[in-house]
Amino acid sequence: MTAATVAPPTAPSGAVGPGRHPGMWHRLRSRLTPYWLALPGTLWLVIFFLVPMVAMLSLSLTQGDILNGFQQTFHWQNYTQSISDYHVQFVRSLWYGVVSTVLQVAIAYPVAYWIAFRGGSRKSFYLFLLLLPFFVSFVLRTTSWNFILADNGILLGPLKNAGLVSQNFHILATTPAVIGGLTYNYIPFMVLPIYVALERVDPRLLEAAYDLYASRVRAFRRVVLPLSLPGIFAGVVITFVPVSSDYVNAHILGGPTNTMIGNVIQNMFLTTQQYPVGAALSFALMAVLLVGLFAYARALGTEDVLEAAAT
């Protein structure tokens, strides 16, 4: 949620120093200042986001091949055809995204709660521990699970030798392995916003609740949980989108029938060179995720998605 925002065009007060005569030029300049300040961020968005987006959107409507180039023919069938070909992977990705996000909330909330309310003076140390895995590359961390969970590896090998699991049992190349990998990789993005929200909860509110004879459960349900909802919302927004479009986890930890839509898109761009199909799938995914997020925002009663995400 670090994307630059365009600052509101309010003239800053006191921009003109004492003892100087505020001429018209000065007034104009101070009125324009916020726009100047917003310029780098706006340019950044236009050049590095808007331009590629429009180019991709355009590409998704073309026909052709790499030898003859892709001609713009407004070929909307790219969308219908690709979705009908890959709807299984599409639905699977969203399903994995939902399951993984729910798991993340279930795991991250207690962690964030514990750090916020029981962390004491060591809070920042615990947060640092949480972020520590990020010092190692994402792919490397995921690949290391391949070693840990190998069929005869350090975890399953002894279990099999002890006869606790059957010889054919395996974790890798299964749906739980992929969902587990997704959950593992994105969980800090869930913990942090929830932590930030919980950290802001004034402990005196809890004391007040207890004074009014609320039980611990009731105090949590009526005071802490509602106040931390924006954090959960932000966490879901931040993680659900990349989780649903991820392709690394399915590639490294998945089996033959765990392909996610991200893998299909990657394959279209890098292997089969069907750029228009890949672009169409990307936009379809983006549209579905956006609609999903707005529906979610509506259900949660958050009027403004951006506002909630930014908190």
Binding site: L59, P256, T271
Partner: protein, 423 residues
């Protein structure tokens, strides 16, 4: 659209793909949506034709002379190759520098031809240098496309005396670049069945062993559609080179049967070799040199390799110079240097793939005579290995990737095999 795809197909050692994940700036999306992108704006953005397609694949002498006329030696070469394709100490490159004074920057940046092509294609289309003067690419779809798009420098054989003298006759007639107009082989390899003898006690002899229910969930297959297509076509009795869409469909059914029976553990890239070593899979489609390297480097398990009775696949990695290379002349010198039999032998001793220089075998034997103990037996074994110096009977069993005559045919092929590897 009248263009002819001359070529056999795709890729091979497909390592890890692009590592960066596609992330979307959520806020930005909303803003973009708010701006209401006009359709006319979209039309203006359409992607132009990539380059002029050459009318003929073979360059004439004048074109070769013209290309090389203004090329001067710069004393440096940037070399793009695959990982594990040269001794990490680079003894051959050191020798080259000592002999010629030309320095070489060696980068292991090619993990798979498709994504390398996707990366450099925009620069080549814009006639810009890609930062490499020499690149090793597998015969296949992108390789053929680059010939058609005119992305390779035409090779001047008069500047390649070692190559002319030492190259194996077979390598001058390969279908993907007959006459070596744009490329010369770096090494060739065979796709066959690799297996871990700890789990597979009866040696597999046929492609049907990949359908054996006893290996449920323990079979590795390649995710590359060209590779997997050739194997399945051989399994259903079709000849890959002359196969029809009906053959592809039959082959795809064979693969679907294998998948729905739960035999396939995963569709692998380069990572199959680790899985084979640690027992995650018991047998797999495999590249000959990988198995030998695994065994030679003391991998977790000693693996075995076999060419199925129905046949296997032969592919070649080729040295090529991009037409925008900054140091083309030095790159050409380096290419020729690799065709010195002593250098070719030295390379083959490390990489264990088929060398295009038959004289390297004699070099190894002479060298072995001067050694003793295990060095001697290792060298003799290598010099006699059918996987480094295959006999003509071995080669007769091997097939090439399917040649596509048009992009439409390629798309049709992909439409049949892609859904299987991305189920």
């Amino acid at each position: 659209m009248s263009e002819i795809y001359i070529d056999p197909s795709l890729v091979d050692p497909v390592l890890m793909r692009g590592m960066t994940q596609r992330r979307m700036g959520r806020r930005g999306i909303l803003k973009a949506a708010g701006l209401g992108v006009a359709a006319s704006g979209l039309a203006a953005c359409s992607v132009k034709g990539k380059a002029t397609v050459k009318p003929s694949a073979a360059p004439n002498n004048a074109a070769v002379a013209k290309f090389w006329a203004d090329k001067k030696s710069t004393g440096h070469v940037n070399f793009a190759n695959w990982p594990l394709y040269m001794d990490p100490k680079h003894p051959e490159l050191k020798k080259f520098t000592a002999q010629t004074g030309i320095t070489v920057k060696y980068s292991e940046v090619i993990n798979d031809v498709s994504s390398f092509f996707a990366k450099v294609q925009p620069q080549l289309a814009a006639k810009q240098s890609i930062g490499y003067d020499l690149m090793v690419l597998t015969n296949g779809i992108e390789f053929a496309e680059m010939i058609q798009l005119g992305y390779y420098a035409p090779l001047d054989h008069s500047k390649m005396p070692n190559f002319t003298k030492n190259v194996g006759a077979k390598y001058t007639k390969e279908a993907f670049d007959p006459g070596n107009n744009y490329s010369v082989p770096w090494a060739s390899g065979i796709t066959g069945i690799g297996y871990n003898p700890k789990y597979v006690t009866t040696a597999p002899t046929s492609l049907q062993d990949l359908q054996n229910p006893a290996y449920k969930g323990k079979v590795g297959m390649f995710s590359d559609t060209e590779e997997i297509g050739v194997f399945a076509m051989l399994a259903v009795g079709a000849t890959p080179e002359t196969s029809t869409p009906a053959d592809w469909q039959k082959a795809a059914d064979w693969l679907k049967k294998q998948q729905s029976a739960g035999l396939v553990r995963k569709y692998y890239d380069q990572d199959y070799i680790a899985a084979l070593g640690n027992g995650d899979i018991w047998l797999s489609m495999a590249w000959s040199g990988d198995i030998y390297q695994n065994n030679a480097s003391g991998g977790a398990a000693q693996l075995k390799f076999t060419i199925p009775s129905e046949g296997g696949t032969l592919w070649t990695d080729n040295m090529t110079i991009p037409y925008t290379a900054d140091n083309a002349l030095d790159a050409l010198k380096l290419i020729d240097f690799f065709y010195d039999p002593a250098i070719a032998a030295s390379l083959a001793e490390y990489i264990n793939y088929i060398t295009p220089v038959p004289a390297a075998q004699q070099v190894m034997k002479t060298q072995a005579a001067g050694e003793s103990g295990s060095d001697k037996t290792d060298l003799m074994e290598l010099a006699d290995s059918p996987l480094v110096f295959p006999s003509d009977t071995d080669l007769a069993k091997l097939h090439y990737y399917r040649t596509f005559r048009s992009p439409a045919e390629h798309d049709q092929y992909n439409a049949i095999f892609s859904p299987i590897v991305t189920s």
